[in-house]
Symmetry: C2
Subunit: 169 residues, 2 copies
Amino acid sequence: MKSFKFKSLKKKEQLCSLGSISKEVYFVKSGLLRLYYLHKGNEITAFLFSENLFASAFPSFLEQKPSEQVLEALENTEVFFISKDNLEQLYKDVPKFNIVTRKLAEQRFINAQRFFVSHLTQTPEERYRQFSQNFPDLIQRVPQHIIASFLGITPVSLSRIRNRKKKSV
Amino acid sequence: MKSFKFKSLKKKEQLCSLGSISKEVYFVKSGLLRLYYLHKGNEITAFLFSENLFASAFPSFLEQKPSEQVLEALENTEVFFISKDNLEQLYKDVPKFNIVTRKLAEQRFINAQRFFVSHLTQTPEERYRQFSQNFPDLIQRVPQHIIASFLGITPVSLSRIRNRKKKSV
DNA sequence: AACTTTAATTAACAATTGTTAATGAAAAGC
DNA sequence: GCTTTTCATTAACAATTGTTAATTAAAGTT
């Protein structure tokens, strides 16, 4: 457990920048991290990590190759983190740790698939409704254009959806 | 390795039906499996498992709860499979197996996230183009309305996309 | 506090998709 | 081989989204 260290971030600081090789995995103690891609000049949000979640630029971290993802603080944020080397050492010292992380990875896969399927089954409007139900705090804390990119629509379209919703309530 | 057994399936046979609890994980030796959800009466394809891929109704298998997913043969298919119990035993007998499956789960997560992001960054038309490039064999083998549901559009819309593409080539 | 930059809303128009329905083609069943 | 069912295409219309641009609101900076 001494493998984990502490870091304090100011808003907009990056834990993994574009093209860099991610060396650490993070646990969000307080604040909010955002994982995004740059696609045709736009920031496409892949995930939001709030308190008590593990966060990482996973493809880069696992395969130790330049990251296509950026991991950035949306607010002033405090994290615990462990380096790639220390994590490998931990696997050696405590083999049972493989079981823990295996189950974590499995759970993450299930979540990712669930997110994926929500894009197959739901309209943007339904996704927004569900998102605001599941994460009412994020609706408050996260700028709308970032939520829009996470839902796979433009900020303009999200604004219209919110407007429609308002009238129907 | 004796934990793995062999099974031969005819087209449309199900390895995991709706509401059942999945007891096995599969490896496709030949043929094609489809994983889908039922949503408002429509079959929404979540994934296609062709030769040499591991397939499962993962959420049901892991948590041993009634499945919302159906795992079904799209063609006559041959699979190897291992039961939940034998897999747990395997973990006990061969602890290193945790490392293997941990890495498998991590890889699956990366793939799922990649799929997810492709829905954020690409239009249905771009997704179809990319799908036909990445899986030219599936385009031939899989009925179009199933591909459409996997791309998150209606069969009608996919037909139009194909038509537009034809003209532009 | 005044200024600058960044966000959110609204409007207008083009393009795409969903929906329903009809037709034609292909596959499956008898 | 014939019938039935399933699948793919096409058409017409409604609804939604994307795009661009202008306006208003909010946030950040000096």
